[in-house]
């Protein structure tokens, strides 16, 4: 008889993540929605801010992160909605695994979707504005910021999806508590893009890492309370 063990925790995490990625590979609904939305947001910023080249440089980091934040909520919402609508969340909860395995699996797949979208938006933005965004530091910041965002976002979307006002609820819950990530990510990204000193950027990187660790730990501890009845 199968019994839960440490080995099957990792397997369960991998199974959940794989399941989301395989389904998405086939339908491509989520990523395409996030992508189109991102490009539209950049378009809106383009006309809303109407900048000359010099000013534009200083807001690139902000525009990018605003875009990622909005598109991110789309993905987080959709990812959980699938589970809720077809009762699949129950299917996951029926399995003899730790609830947190479901959490980590979801975080992995949500993170992957966000990174895929970011990986496409970056070159597009570079082309549109003729700037080079392929700085390894910037890529690291995007990774760290996305990790923190999906760690908290996955927890909060698990709650939001169970309320009446489902779609609207997630951004309302997420944005105020994700402020530190946004500040740190924008500052660090901007720092790398403008070639600032490492000592100016380092505190922001530390903040991002600290946030990621703290909130992943918290989410891991409280996820049970969010899915159990």
């Amino acid at each position: 008889m199968p019994t839960p063990s440490h080995a099957s925790f990792a397997k369960a995490v991998a199974a959940v993540a794989w399941k989301d990625l395989a389904a998405e590979l086939r339908s491509r609904e989520l990523v395409s929605a996030m992508l189109v939305f991102s490009l539209l947001v950049i378009l809106i910023f383009n006309f809303a801010l109407e900048l000359d080249i010099a000013t534009r440089r200083s807001v690139t980091a902000g525009v990018l992160w605003a875009t990622f934040a909005f598109a991110g909520t789309l993905g987080l919402n959709r990812s959980m909605a699938v589970e809720k609508d077809r009762g699949c969340l129950d299917g996951l909860l029926l399995a003899p695994v730790d609830r947190s395995a479901i959490y980590f699996g979801k975080v992995l797949s949500n993170l992957s979707f966000m990174l895929i979208v970011e990986a496409i938006v970056l070159p597009v933005y570079s082309l549109l504005y003729n700037t080079n965004l392929f700085h390894p530091g910037l890529l690291a910041v995007i990774l760290l910021g996305s990790i923190g965002y999906t760690a908290v976002g996955t927890l909060l979307s698990s709650m939001a999806v169970q309320t009446r006002t489902r779609d609207v609820m997630l951004p309302i819950l997420l944005f105020p508590v994700a402020v530190p990530i946004l500040i740190a990510a924008v500052k660090a990204s901007g720092g790398y893009l403008s070639g600032a000193d490492m000592q100016d950027i380092l505190p922001w990187l530390n903040l991002l890492i600290a946030y990621d660790v703290i909130f992943t730990a918290i989410a891991f501890m409280v996820f049970d309370y969010v899915v159990e009845e």
């Binding site: 909060l156 309320t163 489902r166 105020p176 402020v179 530190p180 918290i218």
Partner: protein, 232 residues
Amino acid sequence: MQSKSLTLKALDIVSLILLAVSTYLALVFAPTEAVMGQVQRVFYFHVATAWVGMLGFIAAGLSGIAYLRSGDPKWDRIEVAAVEISLVFFFIAIVLGAIWARPVWNTWWTWDPRLTTAAITELIYIAYFMLRQGIEDPDRRARFGAVYTLVGAVSVPITFMAIRLFRTIHPVVIGTQSAEAQGGFNMTGDMKIAFFFALFAFTVIFVDLFWHRIRIGELADQVEQLKLKVMR
């Protein structure tokens, strides 16, 4: 249904007296500040109400954890009371801050770390109530409330540090030396009396309101229970 306990009634009276005395101290007793004039008096209440907001914030965070660990609905009632009080008092503090800022720095809002963090905390509180509104099952409502309180309680201090870091790296745009709540003047002895008395008075007021609000929560639950009995 129990009527207000004697202690609570006494506390009500004490709170009113303290509020009156504090108002006198702030508006009459304390000397007028040299540079800013009369409007500086707002400062006494601004800090005191922000202080109450903080007390509520901490109470909310702790009761959230207590609820998750024990499942006892009384912690949920305490948590809701704490969030409500904190929401109201931070709002008052923000408004008083604006009233103070306008004549002194010619702006309604300063993006200083404390004020900004208070505003973000308000948004978290509003999100908290919206979350609870959208859930039918009382047990789930309490659990989700507690989880979000915990998430909020941890993120707010981090937010404060982030904004402060933001400000040290980028100089204050407003053009004053310090946008801090206490910046801009030194307190004389009499001012200190008014200041600390306000803190004390508002702490007592906080306890009074907190107690009242928790009591209302209990009474509301009792009403629900009686309603269900009658409907059967």
